[in-house]
Symmetry: C2
Subunit: 478 residues, 2 copies
């Protein structure tokens, strides 16, 4: 049954006048004569020429937008513009009808908001076909990059006992009966009776477990779902998202930055090489969107130029302290244009500050290092100045933070001291501390938010449009 | 800092008398002279020869099992047996000590049960190093297989609203305060106030969402974590496991079987080609284990021979009905050796029956098809006989079911009728039914339990030993 040829392969054919069978979904049917058929293998449709005078009228009426067809015919050079080949149909079979009165996807432009409500069908549009093919390429490129370098893909657990970052934003996982919660003698909920015998939640990061792997296998990476029960309805946050977290033994902060920059360039290049047509389509889509905007709000570079620019330029590396100086002296700060004025050393950077550095000051990706320890996690390696840690954040235009990482604190005493200061229970993390007791070594790693990467590469504006079925406050549909 | 060479690369060196730097963990230190160093890149250690007469005694004492070292020296041909090269150390730095009195991993054989309790350190043993390198290879092979065939990797959601299979074995996900559950006027728990505005749980399968992708992109696959809150303490069940679920438009049951068999052969072959030393080690491990057993319980084939046998032979395909006939007439059934006697058509097969078919009767992998509809899921395509569905299960020696799949019911009326019969709420699955309303087409897919595959390829006996941090009843440690 699968002896059909996919449209992507068909369009690369070097032969004509051969008989072929294609299967796919109708995008449009013009003049009772021309079917644009798409099977998802490429953004391009194949045009089917129907001999309507010799085709049953009942059949012709069933060729509607969205219908699934099987078509056999002869591959010929196209007489029309914009396509290389047509198929002159000799046999048309309707596999599945699509009532044009009810089918939600019409051959016209739908809003992204509307398409989000029919996420089960939006894969059938040009925009989302392109997005999910690019997402697929980027996923595979991530694996290829690490496999070529001898990293081990480690599946760290999704259900965990503790909220690693201590941020308190983890979802609870339970199979207790909420209508009949078991209680201890003291009246507390008795999690001993829960499935895992303890209170459990969904992981916010696989890093701590990743470090355990790196302390034996040298280089590992994770690529899995992570979760935040954060009530933020923004275009850059999801409750469920995919993260890539490599962890490397015997790496310092510079090695870590080199690896992160190499990874980003590799996967972007992979998409440019493997998804040319999808990226051209998305570039054009953005250009049309830009035409609706006033001149001064339009993008300075096209999507494809922006991606190429990332490959051709070294990322700008500077310390947090240097960045604060630049921001303090910046025109928007002096003119009080920042919502959060930059006054002194120690405060966390806001999105507006990151964007200023990347988009206005350096006009390229930026790696900020050596942040104040107060605004970073307990596991980051303390610098000798007593004030900063060996952290690094990579900031991308339009996205902000795309990667966050650090050299890890491998010195047991320093690590325990920091955990005590912040109030992280050491007994819960006995296994993490064990790696500092037995054969500790300098090591580093980072986390790459996969959807933010897809957002950047596709040029989309809302993170809900780059994951198949987005989860956010009040939404877990499909 | 990362200018070290990994031991795997070093052992493939074509040069000697060059200066090299290696970093890793001490496996053993003999006679104050020979360090076996491992860095996880291979099961093989590199032997470091220490000039102990000219080495500081305090330093020598710190070279203990588990300690992390950085060693620079000259690569020379080894005089000893069993290794090609040694490093004559010129500089030894202890990066992290390991107190031999406290380090749980001693250079002796530990039980798998003990190692499970120190899963954070078991990566440092030969057995688990080999297992997780093989697991890594199999993961990548899965991606390669599908990417080479134009499949799109689709990240289906982990948090879902409904328990797709209706099995009632899903974990609840919530961020309600369990000590202060909000109630509706009727006194029910008010899930409108939960994070997603509805009752949600962890996915038991990405298939239904996968089908949505296939109905636009033709061929998709998932590879992600799935969950079962099943209280089964067996060697073949986990509460959290990884599953691969491809879904193919325009495929029937035969195409589906062909694809599944090709996938299994491809990934097994990939491991044989890329993990020769790891698989040789695991083969030897099993042989030693077998020596402890009475002759008649020993494996007929070595691990590597068993893997090769899978590649060299077509899987045996037969219907459930044919299988029942074979089982009814089988010696163990007639001699009442089965715990569950096979009496007639319609009952589900037990593990003992599957093993008889695979291990005794056919002595090779088996694909059973066309099961009674009563023992299979609602979405499987109904055969014309009115009794069976177009299901297929692949059974492997020692594992049992490794793949379960089917052609899907694409006919809306048949699907709705079956859902009504079983009592699956149609309104909850409106989006799934939509794909049968608009451009439905024949399609098929299957699920491969990734840990069962790793179990088979590594020859391990307990599924808890082939995932980094296993989750099972009363355990979510690390």
């Amino acid at each position: 049954m699968s002896k059909r040829i996919k449209i992507k392969a068909l369009l690369e054919s070097t032969q004509t006048n051969i008989e072929v069978t294609v299967k796919g979904w109708v995008r449009t049917f013009r003049n009772n004569q021309f079917i644009a058929l798409n099977d998802g293998s490429t953004n391009n449709n194949i045009q089917i020429v129907v001999d309507f005078q010799n085709t049953d009228e009942v059949l012709l009426k069933r060729i509607t937008t969205g219908a699934a067809l099987s078509i056999t015919g002869t591959l010929v050079e196209s007489l029309g513009k914009g396509q290389k080949f047509d198929i002159k149909a000799t046999s048309i079979e309707v596999l599945g009808d699509s009532d044009p009165e009810k089918y939600p996807l019409q051959p016209k432009k739908h809003s992204l908001e509307f398409l989000r409500e029919i996420a089960h069908l939006r894969f059938r549009t040009n925009t989302f076909g392109a997005i999910f093919r690019v997402r697929n390429s980027l996923s595979f490129a991530v694996h290829k990059f690490f496999q070529e370098r001898g990293f081990i893909y480690l599946h760290t657990p999704v259900i965990t006992q503790s909220d690693a970052e201590g941020a308190g934003e983890a979802f609870r996982v339970t199979n207790l009966d909420l209508n009949n919660l078991p209680r201890t003698e003291e009246g507390e909920i008795d999690f001993k009776q829960d499935f895992f015998g303890k209170s459990t939640n969904l992981t916010v990061s696989g890093q701590l477990e990743g470090e355990l792997g790196a302390m034996a296998l040298s280089d590992i990476y994770t690529f899995g779902p992570t979760f935040r029960a954060e009530n933020s309805n923004t275009t850059r946050h999801l409750a469920e998202f995919w993260m890539i977290e490599p962890e490397m033994a015997f790496y310092d902060l510079t090695d870590n930055m080199d690896m992160a920059e190499a990874l980003l360039k590799y996967v972007i290049n992979h998409a440019i090489e493997n998804n040319k047509e999808d990226l051209e389509f998305l570039t054009q889509r953005l250009e049309e969107e830009d035409k609706q905007k006033p001149q001064n709000e339009r993008a300075e570079m096209s999507l494809l130029d922006k991606l190429q620019f990332c490959l051709d330029n070294d990322f700008q590396r500077l310390t947090y302290t240097e960045a604060i100086e630049i921001l303090k002296e910046s025109t928007p700060n002096k003119k009080k244009k920042f919502q959060y004025p930059v006054e002194g050393w120690g405060t966390d950077l806001q999105s507006e500050h990151e964007r200023y550095l990347v988009e206005k000051h350096f006009k390229k990706p930026v790696i900020l290092t050596d942040y104040p320890k107060e605004i970073k996690s307990f596991y980051m390696r303390q610098n000798d100045d007593g004030k900063t840690v060996a952290a690094m954040d990579i900031l991308f235009p339009g996205i902000g933070e795309i990667i966050g990482g650090s050299q890890r604190e491998e010195r047991l005493d320093k690590l325990e001291q920091r955990m005590d200061e912040i109030g992280i229970p050491k007994d819960e993390l006995w296994w993490y501390l064990d790696t500092r007791r037995f054969g500790a070594c300098p090591h580093a790693g980072f986390g790459l938010g996969f959807e933010r990467l897809v957002l950047f590469v596709t040029g989309m504006g809302n993170i809900r449009d780059v994951i198949p079925f987005p989860r956010f406050p009040k939404n877990a549909e499909f």
